[in-house]
């Protein structure tokens, strides 16, 4: 293994020389002499940026150059595909709560970020994406590598800029970070024509922002909180539904205080995992399409549901008119546009989850929920998450063992598919930064790069990427990035040789007619990993070896490891609420009869 090469590469990467052989001796840049690109880098420094993930090209060269000439401490990490850069930035942002920064070139470089921008947008993740652009006089003339990325990304950004004047750069950078990580966070794109980044910048480097239409600070409306407290007082069978907003607001302690004060059970969305410790007696685990039976049954039987920082999305509510139709419905969210969007609610309060929860906790007392909690505990005993340890190797078995081995203390980043749902079920999340998954967009290819981002953010923590054989192949080129930076990310490829989740739908709803789901031609992922200097590959085929192999990966910390786990090919995820059906229609095991085609889209 060529550790020396890796090391020297590592050094180069951290000393920010973008291309080997291009060791520019940067002159000390004085304030008056800054160009737009250098002013941009200064702006990123002011915002406390640690890392930039990116991949260069003609229109972005001035910005990559400025990373060298400014002598900035910001570390530039070269990725292998721009989508990877966005997911790495996303993982970093979810774990740290700070915007991840991406830098790419124009045209195809910029369009390669669109999936990652959508993913961040759907899940309210702060991100700043810097794209190079052709020179301004060529805009709109189909110049080489021109793409109207400002227009292309408009529906999937929180905000975006096409920079017209070099002197606007310091203000725009400041605004972009502010917008991206206040209120409901989201991605902000800055498209910078090459002539603009190359021209001198004479503007003040810390200018005032100009955002008269943006005011993310919403004071708590005490009257609304009192109304919610009053509704809670009358509840006999309450459920608190915690979403990603609790994590974004860093309100996990506030939520826990409220739940314990009330003695109310808590369920979380897929993205809310970590908002409430899943080993807490009041936890019902995740609800929704593949949520726990007890969480979903609690939704059917509750007399009050209060969502905190979730958007009551279609995979949670099933059929909107039937969702908690006889219960008092309450919604706490920072985004006013979420209130009454999916379901009508009786009470709502717009603002920061933590502030609202703290205010609310002052006005409530313990509710008489003993019967309700006993009833739900009965469901936990009657309908536990279960699987068979014998027969073919099950994903659930491996994930359950992983949960035990890590003591629920690792950061788990998943891809999208069956493995994601089983991981959500079996990997109990107890730490607020312990769970990363693409929820809103359901982006295959997210899991591994997001784990890289998490590992950059938390170098000492154990980070697992739980991925499918399909999704991993979409972004596995970032093995080079992980290996080069000696990131000990552990990739668990749950290899069923299928696009498993789609195969499950075809089996259940389309008479088992398989169409385009067989992944024959998969590489040997363990061997593949070994091709990268510093990466390790493991193969797992038998239940008896699970612990041994997982431990080996845990013990290897000089680079990434990839476990190729050959699992049962045609298992199905339950419980399941078919898309577009009501929660009442949840099925707990393989149906005996043919099921109707789902009316919900996905």
């Amino acid at each position: 293994m060529s550790t020396t090469t890796t090391e020297s590469k590592q050094k180069r990467a951290s000393s920010n020389a973008p291309t080997p052989g291009l060791e520019v001796k940067g002159p000390a840049v004085s304030k008056q002499m800054l160009d737009g690109a250098q002013a941009l880098v200064k702006g990123l420094e002011r915002e406390g940026v640690e890392y930039i993930w990116g991949l260069s090209g003609g229109a972005a060269i001035p910005i990559f150059d400025a990373i060298v000439t400014t002598g900035t401490k910001i570390k530039l990490v070269l990725v292998r595909h721009e989508q990877g850069a966005t997911h790495i930035a996303d993982g970093y942002a979810r774990v740290t709560g700070r915007p991840g920064v991406v830098l790419v070139t124009s045209g195809p470089g910029a369009t390669n970020t669109v999936t990652g921008i959508l993913t961040a947008h759907m899940d309210s993740v702060p991100m700043v994406v810097l794209t190079g652009q052709t020179i301004s006089p060529m805009l709109g003339k189909d110049a080489f590598q021109e793409a109207d990325v400002f227009g292309i990304t408009m529906p999937v950004v929180k905000h975006s800029y096409l920079v017209k004047k070099t002197n606007d750069i310091p203000r725009i950078v400041k605004e972009a970070f502010h917008i991206s990580n206040t209120g409901r966070p989201g991605p902000v794109l800055i498209d910078i024509p090459k002539d603009i980044s190359s021209a001198p910048c004479t503007a003040e480097l810390d200018p005032p922002m100009d955002l008269p239409g943006y005011n993310p600070v919403i004071p708590v409306d005490k009257a609304r909180v009192m109304a919610i407290a009053e509704a809670l007082r009358k509840a006999k069978r309450p459920v608190l539904l915690a979403g990603h907003g609790v994590l974004i607001s860093r309100a996990w302690d506030s939520l826990r205080r409220l739940a314990e004060t009330l003695q109310a059970p808590v369920t979380t969305t897929l993205l809310g995992k970590g908002a409430f410790p899943e080993n807490h007696p009041l936890s019902l685990g995740m609800l929704g399409m593949h949520g726990t039976a007890y969480a979903n049954k609690a939704m059917v039987e509750c007399d009050l549901v209060m969502s905190i920082g979730s958007r009551y999305d279609d995979r949670i509510i099933g059929q909107a008119p039937k969702f908690c139709k006889d219960a008092v419905r309450i919604h706490i969210d920072i985004d006013a546009a979420e209130i009454n969007k999916m379901i009508r609610v009786h009470h709502w309060c717009v603002g920061d989850a933590g502030e609202i929860l703290d205010e609310l906790t002052q006005h409530v007392q313990r509710l008489d929920t003993n019967d309700w909690l006993n009833h739900l505990n009965g469901y936990k005993k009657k309908f536990p998450l279960k699987y068979k340890k014998y027969g073919g190797l099950k994903m659930q078995y491996i994930l359950d063992e992983l949960d035990k081995l890590t003591g629920c203390n690792a950061i788990i980043s998943t891809d999208v598919g069956q493995h994601q749902m089983w991981s959500a079920q079996f990997n109990k999340t107890t730490r607020p930064d312990g769970w990363l998954s693409s929820g809103g967009a359901g982006t295959m290819g997210y899991g591994f790069p997001a784990a890289i981002g998490a590992q950059f953010a938390k170098p000492k923590d154990q980070v697992w990427a739980v991925v499918g054989d399909g999704g991993f192949q979409m972004t596995m080129c970032e093995l080079a990035t992980a290996a080069l930076h000696k990131l000990p990310v552990k990739v668990l490829v749950l290899n069923n040789h299928y696009l498993g989740m789609v195969r499950q739908w075809q089996e259940l709803f389309f008479d088992n007619r398989e169409s385009g789901v067989n992944l024959e031609g998969n590489p040997d992922f363990a061997k593949l990993a070994e091709c990268y200097p510093g990466a390790k590959g493991f193969t797992l085929k038998r239940g008896a070896d699970i612990r041994k192999i997982l431990k080996r990966a845990m013990d290897y910390n000089d680079g990434p490891s990839v476990i190729n786990a050959e699992v049962e090919k045609a298992d199905n995820v339950y419980p399941m609420i078919p898309a577009g059906r009501a929660i009442e229609d949840m099925i707990l095991e393989a149906p005996k009869y043919k099921m109707e085609k789902p009316t919900g889209s996905t």
Binding site: F150, A336, A337, N340
Partner: protein, 175 residues
């Protein structure tokens, strides 16, 4: 409101709303707003954009048709855009709404008097007159203009150009 006169020139206006949006005068703001409406299946019937009193800002008046149930949501989503300061759905009760129309009618000497008489009734100005045509300019609320066009329907309308609605909140209220 729809008028009873069936005429292809009249904007069909079931479930009509007039929304006033006060925005910063920055590139892309119109596209962002249009996207919010388009995504939810709303049709923009009319659109007027012009500088506000403070030149940093613009005023948009948007006539819309579409499902009234989604309107609350649309207004919130528009308000959420970074460049939007205010977005208000106005009704006839709380705002004065006006538009201007130019109607070119093919009318020779024989029909001119009757056209002028109708025009006068609606307070129109004749802004162009030739041997074979004339252009009437009419201002007022949309119903009035619809009615004028209805009355002119028996003549040959060569062209019709409407500005779309502009509105202003009544009393002390802000638009």
């Amino acid at each position: 409101m729809t008028t009873s006169i069936a005429n292809p020139h009249i904007a069909q206006s079931t479930g009509n709303h007039t929304i006033s949006v006060y925005v910063t005068n920055k590139p892309g703001v119109l596209a962002r707003i249009a996207q919010v409406f388009a995504r939810r299946g709303y049709n923009i019937e009319s659109l007027v954009v012009s500088p506000a009193m403070d030149g940093q800002f613009s005023r948009m008046t948007i006539g819309l048709s579409g499902n009234p149930e989604g309107m609350e949501q649309i207004i919130k989503q528009t308000s959420k855009l970074i460049d939007v300061l205010r977005c208000v759905d106005h009704t006839d009760e709380d705002a004065v709404t006006k538009e201007l129309a130019l109607v070119k009618i093919g009318a020779g000497a024989g029909q001119r008097a009757e056209v002028l008489q109708i025009g006068e009734h609606f307070g129109c100005k004749t802004v162009d007159l030739t041997d074979t045509s004339m252009i009437l300019q009419c201002t007022g609320n949309s119903e009035k203009i619809d009615a004028l066009i209805g009355m002119l329907g028996k003549f040959r309308i060569i062209e019709l150009v409407r500005t779309g609605k502009v509105l202003m909140a009544r009393g002390d209220g802000l638009t």
